[in-house]
Every structure is written in C-alpha cells, then in structure tokens.
C-alpha cells in the first residue's frame, strides 16, 4: 500500500475504506470531498463553524440536491491517518475533490497558518467546469448540479479545514492532564456588558474578547491588527480604561463595563474626538482609527495625565500604530478636544 503512487489530478482515486466504514467506490455517481483537517484550533476562525452550518442550511433549504455535510460525502479526516498517507497529504490540511467518476479533479494542500484562498476555490470550480467535464448530454444537467454542489462543498470545506480535526501530532506527547483538558474543553457561559447592553454567549474559553466582539456579536468596529498586543487596533475600554481586546480572554472580561467604538457616538451625534478626527483628517485608510479613538478617548478621561503637551500625548499613544502615519493629525485632533 505504501508503495502505491499518490493519486494526482486526473488519476482514478484508489478505493479506500473511510472511517465510517463506507467505501469510496460506493460513493461513485456523486462528487466527494475529502477534507483532511488538523487540530490547530484557532479561535479567530471559530466563527467559520457558524458559516459552515449556515451554508448547509441555506443551500439545503433551497431544495437542491446538494451535499449534505452530515452525510457520507463529507469526510473530515484525520490528517495523520492511513488515508492521509494514501493520498500523500499526511500531516497537512488538504482538500481533495473526486468527481462522479471517482477521478481526482482537484487537490490542494493548505500551508500551515494559511487559509484556503479564494483563488484556490476558483481553481477548484474551474476543475469542475462543464466545458471541461468528461461527460456531456443528459449528464450535463447532473453536472450542473454537481458544480453547485461543489460551490457549497468547497466553501464549507474551506471552513472545515480550519476547524479542529480528529488527529494531532501532539496528542501522543500530551500529558494525561492535557488530554483530560482537551476532551473536556467545554464551552462556558459568558455574560458581557458591552456599550451598556448585556449579552449572553456560550464560548470556548480560548476566545479572545476581540473575536467575541467581531465574530460572535458582529461588532466589527474593533479591528484586528496584529492579534498579539503590538499595534493597538483592537483597543477598547474596560471599566473606562483602555485595554487590548486581543489579549483579553472574553471569559475574563465578565463583570466589566466594555466600551467599543460602536459605543462612542450618541446615536448620530459623534463623540467630539470623532468629529475632531474628521476635521483634522486624522486617518487615511482608517483601519487603526477605532483603536486610536478608543485609546485617545480614554486618555482624555484620565485626569491624571497632562495631555496639553503634544509630547505627552505622543508617549501615551505609542501603543497605537498607524501604517499611514497620520500621527501629526491624530495628535492635533486630540489636542483640539483637550483644549475645547
């Protein structure tokens, strides 16, 4: 088996027994997606499980004969398993598409730390283009369906690839403690007060406040820059003080008054600093602006700080990077409000 050639695009896929006992051969007549998942769990991508479910529901309710992600056509496979070896993708996240005839139409390996790119998805669609499809005539209709199936499947597969899989190279090194925690990585009930509103969420404890805001509550004003506390784009207020949402676990923000950029204006009436930013052209691309505003508004509330001098403002704002270098205008806007 180990000596068997790795099936490439255009090759007939070898018959294999899937973990649920189904044979690949039995799935002929339908496209099959083999998704090899790793266990690299990334809380920033956890929202994609929602996308995954939504896609399935949306396409399912449209009444089309789409792949049911719960059915056999969907295989989330251990990237450390024998099947991964057989397909030459051991230890990697990979997506392999078999057409109705059991031929490998497309295969891609997702590099560590990367997401499946839209270009790769397009390439997959191209691989299933009816114009290049091996079948014609009455089967073209079926193929049309397959293609739409594939749109669903690929998008969902992209999500799937980012989710925890069933295998891990690390599991054998893990202590019993870690294993226990891994199997018991329960979600927790998290109650957050954001811009005066109470929210109740059920979250993996690994989720950072930043991701809870953006992905769970769709408060996307708070930006993700570096995600490691180096850029300040995710600055929010916790109990009136500036803090980094990327380095705050959501579960640890309970009991605090959280203010985000969405909570700064009063309805249509801008916060004076927001108005001053407009007045002074204190941004170009605007990506760092929510963080700049949250850091600066906290600064203005802090009565212990002498913000009259531009030097003190610069020092106090040094945690907020601006790639467009709008710094002079940002400082001017802050000074304007300070003087008002």
């Amino acid at each position: 088996m180990n000596q068997a050639p790795i099936p490439q695009a255009g090759d007939l896929a070898p018959d294999c027994v899937l973990p649920n006992g189904t044979r690949l051969l039995d799935l002929r007549g339908r496209p099959v997606i083999l998704a090899f998942a790793s266990d690299t769990w990334d809380p920033t991508l956890a929202h994609q499980s929602a996308l995954f479910a939504r896609l399935s529901a949306d396409f399912g309710s449209a009444g089309a004969a789409f792949v049911d992600i719960a059915s056999d056509e969907w295989q989330a496979l251990d990237c450390r398993g024998a099947l991964a070896e057989r397909f030459g993708v051991a230890g990697q996240r990979a997506l392999i598409l078999l057409d109705e005839h059991g031929v490998v139409r497309w295969r891609t390996v997702v590099a560590p730390g990367q997401e499946l790119r839209s270009g790769q998805v397009l390439a997959a669609l191209e691989a299933l283009n009816p114009a290049t499809a091996p079948a014609a005539g009455p089967e073209a209709v079926a193929f049309q369906l397959s293609r739409r199936t594939f749109v669903t499947a690929t998008l969902a597969a992209a999500a799937l690839l980012l989710l925890p899989g069933c295998g891990s190279s690390e599991s054998d090194q893990d202590s019993a403690d870690e294993q226990a925690a891994a199997t018991a990585s329960d979600t927790v009930a998290v109650a957050l007060t954001i811009n005066g509103q109470a929210h109740r969420l059920t979250l993996d404890p690994r989720v950072a406040l930043l991701d809870a805001l953006r992905e769970n509550l769709h408060l996307t004003g708070t930006k993700k820059g570096c995600d490691h506390g180096q850029c300040g784009a995710c600055t929010v207020h916790l109990d009136g003080q500036s803090a980094l949402a990327c380095l705050t676990l959501a579960v640890m923000a309970q009991g605090k008054e959280i203010t985000t950029i969405e909570g700064l204006a009063k309805g249509e009436e801008l916060h004076p600093l927001q108005a001053a930013f407009l007045m002074h052209d204190a941004f170009q691309c605007g990506y760092c602006t929510p963080g700049q505003l949250m850091a600066a508004t906290a600064l203005l509330q802090d009565k212990t700080m002498d913000t009259g001098s531009g030097v003190e403002i610069r020092e106090a704002m040094s945690g907020n990077l601006c790639r467009c270098a709008a710094y002079p205008n940002i400082i001017a806007a802050i000074q304007d409000v300070q003087r008002a």
Binding site: W41, D42, P43, S175, D177, E178, A180, A181, A182, A184, S185, D186, V188, D204, P205, R206, A208, D227, H228, G229, G232, T235, L238, Q241, S242, A243, L244, L247, T248, L249, V251, M252, G255, A295, A298, L299, T304, S309, G310, V311, R314, E315, A316, M317, S318, G319, N320, Y327, I331
Partner: protein, 350 residues
C-alpha cells in the same frame, strides 16, 4: 491555542490548591504576556486559574514601606503618589514599559513573571531549552544581539524583559507568596534564577505558588531608572539601569544598582556598589565603578555593543540620581527614564 479549562478563583487558597494539584495548570491575572504566549503555542496550560478577581488590589503603608497588592495594575502603581515620590524608580520603570493599554491590564505580580523576549523562545520551529528543555539553544549561534552579557550558560543566553523587576531588585523589594506549603517571603534579587542547565525555570517559585504582594522596604533616598531601547517608546530595553541611592551628607552612604537587559535576571552590581559606598559622588568615581562592573561581561557574537552602552548608561544613571546631572524629564515619569527622548521628540521641555 491548546484547550484549557477555565476556573475563576474566589480566594488565594483556592487558587493555590487548584493549580497545585495539576502539573500543567497555571495562574492568569492581566494576561498580557500569558495570553500571547498561549496564542503562540509556547504556553499550553490545561487549566487556567483566573486570579484577577482576588482582592489584592490595594497599595497600603506597611512596616514603614509600601505593600503593593499583586493585582494592582501597572498603571495604578505607576501613578500612585506614594510610589512616585518614595520609590521613583518603580514609577519610571513602569511608565517606560509597554503601552498605556498594556499597563492598564498588566498586574504588578505578573510583570516580573513575564517570559523572555528572546525571539527563539517564541519560535516553535527553533531550538530553545527554555521552551523545550533539552532541545538546544538557537540563540547561541544565532542573532543574539538582545542577549545576555552576564550569568548565561551554554543552555540559555536569554535576558529577562521586565523593567519593573530591575527597579524592584535595586530597591530590595520582598515578594510575599502563598504556596502549597503556606506563605513565605522572598527577597526580590533571589526571585529570579540564572539559567544554568534548567533555563525553563525562570524563578524560584514552586508550582502553585502565588505572589500576593510586592513589599517595598522603607527608603528615604533617591531612586531612578534609565532605559535604552531601539525606538523611543513601546519597546523592550536593550540595556536599562536602576539606582537606589542613599546619601550621608555629601558622601554616598549606600547605593544599590541593578542592570536590565544583560542577564537572565536583574543584574545587581555588588562590586560597583562596594566601590561607591562612603565616597564623594563624581563622574570619575562612577566611571571607575562602571568599568569594574562590566569587567567580567561575556559578550556573544552580536551583543558586545551592550558593554559600552551599559557602562555609559550606568554612569549617567549615577550622575542623574546623585544630582550631578539633570534628569531629562520630570522624576517619576517615562520622560525621565527614556534615554534619547520619548516618542516624537528628542528633548523634553521641563
């Protein structure tokens, strides 16, 4: 990020008991360093015990000095009038470190427990005995420009990144802890370890031992912190220096000096301290002490620049603390501590 169970501790006893019983459990307070390292996969706790809610948030008068609760934020400690006036170096070290946001989040007990900023420690593809004992040290033959001059070993040449720790070492603070075997006090200069052949251990704290407060002993002299970094603000020290000076008339009664950025722990200079005691302060004296202090420095391939930089910094810190040279900014602020000026400006108007 590795999965973990989250538990919020209601009491220090409960926190200690919970962490003690699981080898891979850890405390979390401010989280500014810990969460980042968890995201990087460097820290992989199975149980995370949140001690940020414990009532250790007071700064109180204590035996003629100050007791700073473990959960006091870096910001709150830095702007406390007591800290700023009596332990100026502590405020300066805090305010010259990190950013406002991080200082608001970070706890006083957590700051000295942050891990090294050696880039190889954070890179899972590189050998690092601190991260993975026995795997080797990529920094030894790598780009070791931010690494140690003193006390390093073949296993590890990392430096400790905390500014606060340097000031606390010079002031001989005491660390109060609660551990599996009850409470104890640790002299701050004894808290951190040299790497030896166990660089994965940063401190002498036992597993499950929780810092409950940092105690500053009575001090009536002047203290000062100076820091050199690669950019004007929001960067770790290349070299830093804390001085705690007590005068007796015109003469130095006692001076304590600690360097940052040059060793696995704040590096006290007993030889230089002894040379200075009982002497009249002068630039010549300070330069002699600085030369002696760096006599046994062992530079690596890329960090020899730290020797003249450190000598000059030490001389300047002594000159400024003793009043022979003016501070660059108001005492107790980042402006006094930042060599080369602060963000956006080179010279700071007084």
């Amino acid at each position: 990020m590795h999965p973990f169970q989250y538990q919020r501790a209601d009491t220090a006893d409960q926190a200690v008991a919970t962490v003690t019983k699981t080898a891979t459990a850890t405390f979390i307070a401010g989280g500014t360093s810990h969460v980042d390292l968890m995201k990087e996969g460097v820290h992989r706790p199975s149980v995370l015990v949140d001690v940020s809610g414990l009532p250790l948030k007071q700064i109180t008068q204590h035996e003629g000095g100050l007791r700073i609760g473990a959960n006091v934020s870096n910001s709150a400690a830095a702007i406390s009038a007591d800290v700023r006036q009596r332990y100026t170096a502590v405020s300066e070290a805090l305010l010259a470190g990190a950013s406002v946001q991080i200082r608001n989040m970070a706890s006083m007990a957590g700051n000295p427990l942050q891990r090294t900023r050696c880039p190889y420690f954070r890179d899972l593809t590189q050998a690092c005995n601190k991260r993975e004992p026995g795997s080797g040290c990529a920094a030894l033959g790598g780009y070791n420009h931010v690494h140690a001059l003193f006390g390093a070993s073949d296993a590890c040449v990392a430096t400790h990144p905390s500014d606060l720790a340097v000031a606390l070492s010079a002031l001989d603070a005491r660390v109060q802890t609660l551990g599996p075997r009850g409470p104890r006090a640790i002299a701050f200069p004894e808290l951190h370890r040299l790497p030896g052949d166990t660089p994965h251990l940063d401190t002498v704290l036992e597993h499950g031992e929780l810092i409950t407060s940092l105690d500053l002993p009575p001090f009536t002299g002047r203290s000062h912190y100076l820091k050199v970094r690669e950019r004007a603000s929001y960067a770790y020290a290349l070299v830093s220096c804390a001085v705690a000076l007590e005068m007796d008339g015109p003469k130095i009664r006692r001076v304590r000096v600690a360097l940052g950025g040059v060793a696995h722990k704040p590096w006290r200079l007993p030889k230089a301290e002894a040379m200075l005691a009982g002497q009249l302060p002068s630039e010549k004296l300070f330069r002699a002490a600085a030369t002696a202090a760096f006599a046994d420095a062992k530079p690596l391939e890329h960090n020899a620049y730290k020797i003249p930089m450190g000598r000059n910094l030490l001389v300047r810190a002594l000159l400024e603390t003793s009043g022979l040279q003016a501070l660059q900014g108001p005492a107790g602020t980042a402006f006094a501590a930042s060599v080369g000026g602060v963000a956006g400006q080179l010279a700071v108007p007084r």
